[in-house]
Homo-oligomer: 462 residues x 2
């Protein structure tokens, strides 16, 4: 087992050099959504290939119908070493409105913001070039000190993450054997706070559905027909109102099938994070949790499923008033899923629930809008324990296991297409302003991020 300590020391000693390398990459304007920056995207991919080759990776550009992928492989110390696939993306968000940037977004800089804090400014510092380079630097230091990596490492960098990753699934499909590893490391996430690293172990799934209620075959005058003709908005309102009981629980039969209670020690860990209704909802002008009563904000958003109405329309919605009874009304609803909830069963249960509430002389149509199950790592996984301990050794406060209310598609793709779980670790902070002007990354995140990966790689090798 190669010793960890000299690797950490090397990372400390090479910090300035690692910043020079990061800045080279940050200066490349790899905006994937704008065709005008196609060549720049390729240049970023080439820069990464060259850099990975310089460390000893077998790295190459892989063309796609869109921007190219970067794929790289490095053997482990022995043929039976654990094998990880590290995922990141080299493309960045557009930079408009440019006049809101305090610095040129593509002229990265280090800025002293006082109280001992320094930040790296520029587009891509946090999302995701700064993050992915923390991993590359950890590999580089291992090679420099020991001439080898502690585990077998494959790397996949895509260049279309900010454009919806159109080439990713076909690429995974076509290169399944090459990319399959024991598990994936996904760095596109953040810390709990500046002192507390985090590992995301749950990502909620999603079912989206549009409900169209149809009544009369034309719009009606409410004077003539009011009191006689069915009103599709009234029917739809009743359906939607029935989705929740008075305690905020979802009433669709079978909805909670597959939902597990979160272990007490995890709930206690989350309680310890100090998130309150006031701290979570206050910034958006609210104060009262809308979900199931008796559960904390973090449990509600991380480990409980939801039913949300995302849009509704029907009848006259312009200025003024029109005494119309509409022919139809529609709503877009979605469900956030957790644990083992089955998207297909939930969609069918919703449809049955709605149909039961449609009068015999009216009808309903459904339009499917995507469905994906939740991702949930076992809290008992040895992988998780190793990563958690490694992170806790590096940072002032122990690592916390968190979950995410939304989904990260790549994690589901890895699971479904490559049969591979993901470990989600990243060092971004909530105030990094990703996708906005003045994106930044803490120098501390970049430095201790490199050290964190060195520690995690060491732990995984054990």
């Amino acid at each position: 087992m190669p010793a960890l300590e000299p690797v950490l020391n090397t990372l400390d000693g090479n910090l300035d050099k690692s910043l020079e390398r990061l800045f080279e990459l940050l200066k490349i304007k790899s905006i994937s959504t704008d065709p005008g920056f196609k060549a720049e995207c390729r240049r970023a991919a080439e820069w990464l290939v060259d850099d990975l080759k310089s460390i000893g990776f077998d790295a190459s550009i892989r063309d796609t119908p869109g921007h190219p992928m970067v794929v790289a492989h490095h053997a482990g110390p022995t043929p039976d070493s654990p094998h990880v696939l590290f995922y990141g993306h080299y493309d960045v968000q557009p930079v408009d409105p440019l006049d809101l940037w305090e610095n040129d977004p593509f002229a990265p800089a280090i800025k002293d913001v006082g109280e001992g804090r320094k930040i790296l400014t520029g587009r891509g510092t946090s999302d995701d070039k700064g993050q992915l380079m923390t991993f590359v630097e950890a590999c580089r230091a291992y090679k420099q000190v020991h001439g080898q990596l502690p585990v077998k490492v494959s790397i996949l960098f895509e260049g279309e993450e900010e454009s919806g990753s159109p080439s990713l699934k076909p690429f995974l499909e076509a290169n399944r054997d090459e990319l399959k590893a024991d598990f994936a490391l996904v760095c596109d996430t953040g810390m709990w706070n500046a002192e507390t690293p985090a590992i995301s172990v749950g990502l909620r799934g999603l079912v989206g559905e549009e409900i169209v209620v149809k009544a009369a075959d034309r719009d009606l005058h409410s004077g003539h027909f009011g009191g006689a003709a069915a009103n599709p908005i009234r029917i739809l309102a009743k359906v939607l109102a029935d989705l929740h009981d008075d305690n905020g629980a979802v009433t669709i039969p079978g909805f909670y099938d597959g939902v597990e209670e979160t272990p007490t020690q995890i709930l206690q860990m989350w309680d310890g994070l100090g998130t309150t209704p006031e701290s979570f909802l206050g910034p958006i002008g609210l104060s009262i949790p809308s979900g199931e009563r008796g559960r904390s904000i973090l449990e509600l958003t991380w480990a409980r499923p939801t039913a949300e109405i995302n849009g509704i329309t029907g009848g006259y919605t312009g200025q003024g008033f029109k005494t119309v009874i509409a022919a139809q009304a529609s709503a877009k609803v979605s469900f956030r899923l957790v644990h083992k909830q089955d998207p297909g069963k939930i969609r069918e249960a919703l449809r049955a629930f709605v149909r039961e509430r449609i009068p015999a002389d009216c009808s309903v149509e459904f339009h499917e809008h995507g469905g994906s199950p939740a991702i949930q790592l076992s809290y008992e996984s040895p992988l998780l324990t190793k990563a958690k301990n490694a992170l806790s050794d590096e940072w002032p406060k122990p690592a916390v296991l968190i979950a995410m209310g939304g989904s990260i598609p790549i994690v589901g793709d890895f699971q479904r297409m490559l049969g591979m779980e993901s470990l989600l670790v990243g060092f971004g902070l909530e105030d990094d302003r990703i996708h906005s002007p003045n994106e930044k990354y803490e120098l501390n995140s970049f430095h201790k991020g490199q050290r964190s990966w060195a520690r995690i790689l060491a732990a995984l090798a054990k």
Copy 2:
């Protein structure tokens, strides 16, 4: 009391001449909504003034900021004769699309449609020139036969009915004393069917209100906030669903204050009209009455109040899907009122009902969209009995007392501004295609309409 029979005979003998007069009026293109026909509107008013003068009315043009009014007066046989104000309008709807007309809309004609039926074709035949001339012809015949009218008659013809009557209220206000009569005769309505005359004794009132529910101070991502943040569409759906109980009754406290049960004999009369859920709802593709259970279609639409949702909007309503929790959602709701329901009280009761259902961290705004009480003639009114008997004497089947689901603003204006009830009698049929190409009026309606007014005037004189 001048004898009725010779008046009726005179009307029969003069039918051709009365048609010539009507056709003169119909040829004038008095389209009030199109400024290009301003002079034609005035010409129609002048034609009416001349015609009324020729009968002996004190008739004059009264200018308004829009098209002129025609006002005419004729004394009764004695100073204490009953005094009626007859209302009609000389303006007509536009005629586009012109290519759908089988005849020139302003070249009126008599058309034999077989089975002994003849119709008058052209714009304004039914709405409202043909209708108003039935009354003028009845007056003319009285004058011809007896040299006098059986009651004191005032006439008000407006020229902006099809443009929303912008000048009417100020004109009533300014000429209150001149126009005040014992009651009004309003001819802008129809028969129950070709054999059965009808008198409208009820017109539902209206309260319109917009409800805007506000939750977070911005749109939210449902992945991050779903389960924690209040969803204004969910809140609004619950409010709207709560408006009706399982029997279709409105649940707002005090909503039914002032609602009277319709007399049994009236309900029986309505049952005799043969309107069924199938006959009423079938043509619009429905079959099940949506209002209070256990009440007939006619009672529901004529004599019961309603709560309708006329429009709703919130969140993402475009193509595809967006997992958003909206900052606000809004609905336009309206109530049809009957009998003595108080629009102001109902608006306040609605607002209290909604406020009770808004979570403490959310808010609601209301926007008022008009309110007017219902109009309800007493079923016991001697006026009604006289008119009903007079009509029953003329037509193959006895007159029925009906109501209307919607409102006719002039009737409310007469009541509120001049303290005057209206008798609503007209001879239009449902298939007259008013406002559409190929408007027509039954020759029978024109002829027996004249005779009906002669009978009604005679009855009122008693």
